[in-house]
Symmetry: C2
Subunit: 704 residues, 2 copies
């Protein structure tokens, strides 16, 4: 899987754990269950060490520290934006790979933030007290104000990042305190052709043959970070049947949503996203045919779109599976029956079900306005995605909006600002705002034209917002005018507008600034309606249902994923599909067998040349029963001794249904074996400096 | 609406009629009901006259005779393929329009067939006797053999066309005998900019401002046809509240499908088609940006795709409407309850429901193979659509397959051939096969590359068929090789291969012929599986359910649409949507108010120049409560006196749900008023010759 460019789910849920199911919080890990099932004793020291060795890429991936000098392992597809930002028409680090043979060659990524989870504090009582008895807008406002206060108090320095995390749909609130690192440099990335060997056809498939790895280095105060906790490198990789753990940041699951919300996904959001992304895929594919440079510029978008498409299609497939969906329906019905028979917990929870249904129906009716006028800039991790404004699909728009809206918001006291403009959020906001990543006018015009056309289609040509945006012009004319006229590509212009504040922004005649200014009142109004009448209602209802569930069924499960650190366990194990038995390992030799010489099945030249030097029976990719989801990309797979044995980069096709439930028979994590990484760093890439750091004092041996 | 490029539904259904609901057969028209409701007496002479004045375009539209000299009125979008076929890079009849000021300027359309329904005969007893007691493959074979025998016996000349039509899901079989005309010439078409004013954004919308008209002339033996029956032209158009009738060929409705089949549409076929068409739309839009000639070549495909997308989205919207779908579920449940209580009719019908569910589930599992390996060349009207082979989206492929498969089939006795190669089908088959329409290699390569890529995605890169088709090559390489190598663009090559028969085809080294030869065994095998195990089972089951419905509920309704001639009735009437009242007429002046100067809201120069001469309050488009669906495009709207008052070209957005049921409050037919056609033919197009033919002896007056 590639890093999710979709929305992260806002809510999580209690669930009872079966088999190797579960994305467990570190403060709720079922140590006894693991010992009972596998005879493996996990103690608090083990947990602390693995937690502190784990890392989150704030833009949406997982990672781990693998040396005491700040070396971080993650997936190639997690650093593709950085490679793109560093590339130009003359040097394409995505196609050719990147290899810093010395420390000075390590180059800073314009936008990359590494987080290390240092502390978890339960703040449930405080949050629930602040919202007690409130409804709708008042509930939402109180919730935002209280979590804002907690986060601001916690975040005593820009080097920290504090988030109040909603767990179990509001059944629990924990404060997660991270060490934040923004100086992150590129160390190593292989060629795209092997990092994503098999391309979209093989994505979410197994057997698989991908070296989806990259190495970064965290710098602190201009020097490589000296970190105590890191995962020792096990160059042998795991064996079939070995117990393994995955420590990472699953982005979101929907396992405990109400049927009203799942029906909305099945009938509205999934099919509509699939249609929109399919159209964009068709358009980008043809944009690529304009030339090599256009292809280079748009590759990352294309792969993101194709990845999301496969995810959404897999989810939709699960939702329209009569048996799977039927189970969900039956399970909610059974719970509602219990509630109906429970005069203490029942009435509130049953009213909450009804309120969520009503809010979801309202959402169905206003979804076009919410999507195209408000967008989702308020969502965690969404602000800088161009998808936060699907009507204005250009890198310029979030910049313009940050300047326009930021100018207004920064005149307000901290507690009254939109969350993404609170003081605590500014380090992340400004890192993006002042990114040196290049922006290409032709590509931006293409994207903006497409998205304006789609906005006109969905809102309709007679919608007042469409008329405001387009006037009498065509989408292409508006896009060309905005893109060719704006000077926001110039970093100094952005800095001057940010520092000049409201006076500077109000005086600006930049067409993109003027455009963002013109649409901002509409956008804010629809966002407020959405937050007050839909989001708050669903949040409050979900909280009530979660509390009733705790009361009726007990609080023994794990919460739905929320892009916070989780630990999963399982074993290295293939699976059986009808008569087909899928073994757990592939080998380097398998990649050569699959090589056709044509994209996406073309191995890079470095591999073809190195073939005689390779031990072709070296294990390459592997599958395990650990429970993961999008956002886990880059997670370390560790053995019982806490050593890294694999690098998670994907799930199999059955893992896509994992958004709604875990099927231990079929759902598999896909990882790169450390044996393969060790061998190819040595034999293909001659990465002696890196190997010396991963395996101090050892000359690597081919491990099979 | 534009002419459907989707599959025509194979089955129809009984339904009880309410309000102005109903697409009535001419031999089942509810004369008494119309007289009761509207006081309008329709007699058999009226019906015979309107039937014989109605026409079908075999490629998927409706039309009518409007003069005694073979003049035929239909929609611009129904003749767009012809205009495209007649155009070239130097002369674009779609953009510029077409106007034959004299008879000699009337130019033959390469592929256009007009049918006039001359006789209907009930053959139910004969067909049902032939299939009595048979199941699965034997049922399907017997059905095909018997209908084939009936058609062959009926079709005593190539100038006739005979089809056994399945009505009421097999509750009734009628033999429809048509007069067939293949010499059809272009007389008049306005500029695309006004024919499709508002483009995709306004498609299926109202208020509307489109002159979606075209005039053809049927020639017989090289001279204009002399026909007794034609519709007199009423230049005043209808008034609000007038009773009107629509006589045309609705392509297909699914109002009486089982819930198993509707669920399959909701969950599988509609969302998957929407995704595929969305992707193609994105790709074609970008293909258009390559240049003016590429835009010209691909416009027709783009508009067809966009039209289908809007249809499918509207249908899906209806299917995921909780109330609408719930009604469907409740109605089937009520019928099943009646069946369960009916020992005579119940058991067979309930077993049929189960059999259809099973066949539909099987279809779900094998749908990728059915779509990409078999395609749908066996479906009526589908053979020459490039969509009959979604894996090989190029005009060359149906040609190659017709030659390869035809060479084999024509060695067999008529009764054992695939239906599309029976002697009775050859006039239509060869008209397409020997069409002079130009084929552009760049456009074909683009389409074929896209569809091969999609085939690889859906079947998977490891599917044996994918490997057979692509080998080690990329989709683009295969497409370029086939398109650049084939000589099938040369009409004489096609003729020589067709006439040379099996020996010539076997000896051919044309790469497209070789390709069609290679995939034909796979394609035939999957088609046979589909026909024997799915189609036949559904057909037999539907027949059993229809018979039980007749027995239990009586046979008073109208059958589901089947692209056969139907008559609908209703009144000219707007509608109310919440607080919004939509009046039934627009005016020519409204088009000028909507003119922005930018596509698709840019009026053609001829209109802008003529504006001072126009009576701007002339009625332009109108809506009525008549029950229509895709395929009705081009239908005449006639008044109680049998005079033409409008030209049906669309339905409103609510008409899309009409596939599943008729909502008299919202569902509206959209037509061009004869008042507007008369006025603009005079004032803008100076079409004196045509007006003289429509209104002999009169000088047209502006009618408002």
């Amino acid at each position: 899987m590639r890093k999710t460019i979709a929305l992260l789910a806002l809510c999580s849920a209690a669930a009872s754990a079966r088999a190797d199911e579960g994305m467990w919080t570190y403060n709720g890990f079922p140590k006894a269950q693991v010992e009972r099932k596998y005879g493996v004793k996990i103690d608090d020291a083990w947990l602390d060490h693995v937690r502190l060795s784990s890392a989150r890429l704030a833009q949406g991936c997982s990672a781990s520290f693998v040396s005491p000098n700040g070396l971080v392992l993650t997936n190639h597809h997690c650093v593709e934006d950085c490679l793109q930002d560093l590339s130009s028409a003359r040097k394409d680090f995505i196609a050719e790979g990147f290899h810093a043979k010395t420390g000075v060659e390590e180059v800073k990524c314009p936008v990359l933030e590494v987080n290390q989870l240092v502390e978890i504090t339960d703040v449930t009582a405080r949050v629930q007290k602040a919202t007690a008895g409130l409804e709708g807008q008042k509930f939402g406002d109180a919730l935002k104000a209280e979590t804002g206060r907690i986060e601001t108090a916690c975040q005593t320095s820009p080097a920290l990042r504090c988030n109040v995390v909603t767990l179990f749909h509001g059944g629990r609130y924990d404060l997660y305190r991270y060490r934040r690192y923004q100086d992150v440099r590129m160390v190593f990335a292989p060629e795209f052709a092997i990092a994503f060997f098999g391309g979209d056809p093989d994505n979410f498939m197994f057997p698989r043959f991908s070296l989806d790895m990259a190495l970064l280095r965290v710098y602190d105060d201009g020097k490589p970070l000296q970190n105590k906790d890191f995962l020792a490198w096990n160059p042998a990789g795991p064996k079939e049947g070995d117990v393994v753990f995955v420590s990472g940041h699953p982005g979101g699951t929907d396992r405990q949503l109400t049927m009203a919300e799942l029906e909305y996904q099945r009938d509205v959001s999934l099919p509509e996203r699939i249609a929109a992304f399919s159209e964009l895929r068709g358009a980008v594919t043809q944009f690529q045919s304009r030339g090599a440079e256009q292809k280079r510029l748009s590759n990352s978008l294309l792969f993101g779109v194709e990845n999301s498409l496969k995810v959404y299609k897999g989810r939709r497939e699960a939702m329209v599976d009569r048996a799977f969906y039927g189970q969900k329906v039956a399970s909610e019905e059974a719970f509602r029956k219990k509630l109906a028979a429970d005069p203490k917990n029942g009435p509130v929870a049953l009213r909450a079900f009804a309120a969520i249904q009503e809010a979801t129906d309202l959402h169905r009716n206003v979804r076009a306005d919410v999507t195209f006028i408000a967008g989702t800039p308020g969502r965690m991790g969404e602000y800088w995605s161009m998808w936060s404004s699907p009507a204005f699909l250009t890198d310029y728009f979030p910049i313009a909006r940050a300047l326009v809206r930021g100018a207004d918001e920064r005149t307000l006291p901290d507690s009254r600002r939109l969350p993404e403009f609170a003081e605590a959020s500014l380090p992340e906001l400004t890192q993006h705002l002042f990114s040196t990543a290049p922006i290409d006018p032709e590509f931006e015009t293409f994207k903006l034209t497409w998205s304006l056309t789609r906005m006109r289609e969905v809102l309709g040509p007679d919608h007042p917002f469409t008329k405001k945006v387009l006037g009498n012009d065509s989408p292409g004319e508006v896009a060309r005018r905005l893109v060719s006229g704006t000077r926001l590509g110039d970093l100094s212009v952005r800095k001057q507008l940010w520092e000049g504040g409201k006076a500077a922004v109000d005086a600006s005649q930049d067409p993109m600034i003027a455009f963002a200014r013109a649409v901002d009142p509409d956008s804010r109004a629809v966002r407020k309606m959405y937050e007050d009448e839909i989001e708050s209602v669903v949040h409050k209802g979900s909280e009530a249902i979660a509390q009733a569930r705790f009361a009726v069924e007990g609080a023994s499960g794990y919460p739905d994923a929320t892009f916070t650190l989780r630990l999963s366990f399982g074993t290295v194990q293939g699976w059986t599909e009808g008569k087909k038995v899928v073994p757990p390992f592939t080998t380097l030799g398998g990649a050569f067998a699959r090589h056709t010489g044509r994209e996406p099945f073309a191995l890079p030249r470095s591999w073809l040349e190195a073939k005689p030097r390779l031990a072709l029976d070296t294990k390459f990719n592997l599958v395990a029963t650990t429970d993961i989801i999008g956002g886990n990309s880059g997670s370390p797979m560790v053995d019982r001794d806490g050593r890294i044995v694999g690098l998670v980069f994907d799930g199999n096709i059955w893992s896509l249904a994992g958004n709604y439930g875990f099927d231990a028979k079929l759902n598999r994590t896909v990882a790169v074996d450390t044996a393969a990484m060790t061998h190819v760093l040595d034999k293909i890439y001659g990465a002696e400096r890196i190997l010396g750091e991963l395996l101090p004092g050892k000359k690597p041996q081919a491990a099979r």
